[in-house]
Symmetry: C2
Subunit: 251 residues, 2 copies
């Protein structure tokens, strides 16, 4: 298996930080960047014959399991930026996809890593990635540097506090009928105030998806401050299972 970084294994997707995708400080919203990362993942895999639409034809789909984003800088109004993405590794049930977010002059703005599984749309069970199309997905592996923080074990103690509660609404639901992976990020970011963001910059964001929820579910967000700059967040279906856990590191 050749894992040398053949340049055509890396997808390059240019963007501009559009005026109507910015937060109050004029920086790109993390949720918009998150959507760009996922859309690049789909474009990259679709171009290589294993995108969502193709999997859907076999009653399979991609499911995002984890997403980590390290940011040294967030693009500002009208700034062009490029997302590079490639398949870093394939396990039996998971694949790691890496990203660099960079300026057109190759200044690195951030790194990201996502972990995905393929599931059967009916049984919701994971599929052995190597069983699909004769395991040809391994032909897309590329070893390229992506020095992002290792995923953390995110566990909240009983010091956690409920910071918001809401009902899953129409725009929260994705085309699989589940709560949209990126919408969680938006709800998490909304647990902090503008004054908080005026003083602190998000350096590292991490989300681990645990279970799924649906339209109309009541969702509770709990938060625990771990140290001066770290927050752990847990999103749960009210009185029931945990849906996802996040870690946010500010500076």
């Amino acid at each position: 298996m050749n894992t040398e970084c053949n340049p055509d294994r890396i997808g390059h997707y240019p963007f501009v930080a559009e005026s109507f995708h910015l937060d109050f400080s004029g920086h790109l919203l993390l949720s918009v960047l998150g959507n760009h990362l996922l859309n690049c993942s789909n474009r990259h895999s679709s171009d290589r014959g294993f995108g969502i639409s193709l999997l859907n034809e076999h009653k399979y789909t991609w499911v995002l399991s984890r997403l980590s984003i390290d940011l040294s800088e967030m693009p500002c109004q009208n700034e062009p930026f490029i997302i590079d993405t490639w398949v870093d590794s394939i396990y039996r049930l998971f694949t790691d996809r890496n990203y660099v977010i960079r300026s057109p002059q190759d200044k690195v703005l951030g790194y990201a890593k996502s972990v995905w599984a393929i599931i059967d749309l009916e049984s919701r069970k994971p599929i052995d990635l190597l069983s699909i199309d004769g395991g040809r997905i391994v032909e897309h592996i590329c070893k390229k540097e992506c020095p992002i923080n290792k995923p953390q074990r995110i566990r909240l103690s009983d010091k956690k506090e409920v910071v918001s509660e809401f009902t899953a609404a129409y725009t929260d639901i994705d085309m699989n009928g589940h709560f949209n992976s990126i919408k969680y990020i938006e709800h998490v970011m909304n647990t902090f105030s503008l004054d908080f963001y005026r003083e602190k910059r998000l350096k590292h964001f991490e989300i681990a998806y645990v279970s799924e929820c649906y339209f109309g579910d009541t969702i509770v967000i709990s938060r625990e401050q771990i140290d001066a700059t770290t927050y752990f967040i847990e999103i749960a279906k009210k009185g029931e299972k945990v849906l996802c856990r996040c870690s946010l590191l500010f500076e």
Copy 2:
């Protein structure tokens, strides 16, 4: 003044209905389309020397006053589409910008119209458009067909009912520090259920912005069903002023 449609007065912006920009039915979210329309407006005006960044240098900014969207079809997963936009007319304090949303094969998917003012960032007062840069904005007017429904007078009676209440959060606020024009659309769309959207398709959406609100404000959405297919919606700062009014026509 030459208002013939010189082709370079029309901007053409290609998009794809990306997988992570879709609703549960696999169609592009109206809020995503709304953001695309506004971002095209800014790219078109920036390319012609009157974009937001340039106005900001003069302590002015563009403010969206109305937006109407007529949709015969909403793009589905991976479908490419093009937004054409141009300046339709200039009054003293307002300018109308039109849009066609079309397939690459020139099939019209929808039309849109927006009304904008330029305001002084400090006084919040509107600026005479013809006073800027010697009125050169009129050189960009283009007369091209855009057969969209005329704006309606949206007035709710005392039959209106409160359908949601929430607090303006971080991702609701735009880079001017106000509630984001498109985020209102998202909150409006969220007042209907998935079952409702399974049965009805949105044909016409219209929003008229009345006043501004800020982070932390409590916002109340009221709705009134006008006839079998028409809803009027009013968004207000709780116990205070109306912020915007919408009309939605389904089929």
